[in-house]
């Protein structure tokens, strides 16, 4: 882990440790929002549950859970189905807008190798900003119409940006700002809240039964589950952004989905990315 983020984590831990030590009883500690401790417990839960799976392999989702699936994945990775989307994204990323600017002007480091820092908490706006939102804001700032969050153009752009960050550890920061902690906690609550007529939460599938089957599909572990986004799913025979994955999951358990990039989705992506800090970015990914 890069020294800078290690220092950050250490200082955050120190700050939070100081808070908890400040006379709060253990029972209070349960209500104290402690992302660092959460992340540690989150990672430990999965490494204990699957001791044979290497830490960085959790980002391969179902393929880290089943040998037969892993072989099918390896074969697909020789010439992956997201190849066309990746190429389209690379082309789109460098094509200037009508006003001559390009996406590179909107992103740190020209948008290359920065995906692992998204989503981030914008202290001016007081809200979580995801990569997809930042891309559309960049378009609007340059007089272009925003893309749909669930269609191919957004998937192609995020595929290219993810590709430029492949292998870099997820590096999400939570500034010492009560609104950031609240957003993080709201994301965590969404993750564990059961919804829809099937009464499932994200955790029902991805914490309680990763590696098990739901009909033909093997459930992915929640650790590192967003590291491979965006994904080409054989099920959709097409690309899927994080937004598409969240909204379709909602409707599959018969819950009415919110519109993409609503606060709940931004916050749950913030939570899921934070607790997967340190695991490598592996997007764009192929999935069943």
């Amino acid at each position: 882990m890069r020294p800078r983020s290690a220092i950050y984590l250490a200082s955050a831990a120190l700050a939070l440790a100081a808070l908890t030590l400040a006379g709060s009883l253990p029972s209070d500690a349960a209500d104290k929002i402690d992302p660092v401790a959460d992340a540690k417990a989150f990672r430990k839960f999965f490494t204990d549950k699957f001791p044979k799976v290497k830490l960085e392999d959790f980002v391969n989702g179902p393929y880290s859970m089943n040998e037969d699936l892993y072989r099918q994945w390896q074969e697909k990775e020789q010439f992956p189905p997201y190849e066309f989307s990746l190429e389209m994204g690379k082309e789109m990323f460098s094509k200037p807008f009508k006003n001559g600017k390009t996406y590179a002007d909107c992103f740190p480091n020209g948008g290359i190798g920065v995906r692992q820092n998204y989503p981030y908490f914008d202290e001016k706006e007081g809200k979580v900003i995801t990569l997809e939102l930042a891309l559309n804001r960049c378009r609007e700032a340059n007089g272009e119409a925003p893309y749909s969050y669930v269609r191919d153009e957004m998937a192609a752009l995020t595929a290219y940006m993810a590709f430029t960050s492949r292998g870099k550890p997820m590096d999400i920061k939570i500034p010492n700002d009560p609104r950031a902690l609240a957003a993080y906690e709201n994301g965590k609550e969404y993750f564990y809240t059961r919804r829809g007529q099937l009464n499932f939460s994200c955790a029902t599938c991805h914490v309680q039964s990763p590696g098990e089957r739901i009909r033909a599909e093997i459930l992915a572990p929640a650790l590192g589950i967003v590291n491979a986004m965006p994904i080409y799913r054989s099920e959709w025979s097409g690309m899927g952004t994080t937004s598409r994955r969240f909204t379709t999951c909602n409707s599959q358990i018969r819950g009415v989905p919110f519109s993409p990039q609503d606060d709940e989705y931004r916050n749950v992506e913030y939570y899921l990315s934070y607790v997967s800090n340190g695991l490598p970015i592996s997007g764009p990914g192929a999935r069943p």
Partner: protein, 103 residues
């Protein structure tokens, strides 16, 4: 329009391994769309690979081949820098051709 054919050909001295991924819907003609209408059959029927003017591989495909079809094979011969000619024709008569350099 960029070619619909992506090819990776790598030579390892005496044999050349060829992988191809082609952008094509490969509709079998048996699937219904969201509105319940049958999506008409539209798939690549024949894909040919030529090296040095000679056919080294021919694929005759039906509707049962996956969307964005992929195929891998190998042939003896072929040196780095040589060219492979790849072309396909589908059941609607559409075609595409490209050449790829052996790496």
């Amino acid at each position: 329009m960029a070619s619909s054919i992506r090819v990776r050909a790598t030579s390892s001295g005496e044999t050349t391994e060829v992988q191809a991924l082609i952008q094509h819907p490969m509709d079998s003609g048996f699937v219904k769309d969201a509105k319940g209408e049958i999506i008409p059959a539209h798939f690549i029927q024949q894909l040919t690979f030529e090296y040095d003017g000679k056919n080294v591989f021919t694929a005759d495909w039906g509707g049962g081949v996956s969307k964005d079809p992929y195929v891998k094979f190998a042939f003896k011969g072929g040196k780095k820098g040589d060219e492979l000619k790849i072309s396909w024709v589908d059941n609607k008569g559409a075609t595409d051709t490209t050449t790829a350099k052996i790496q």
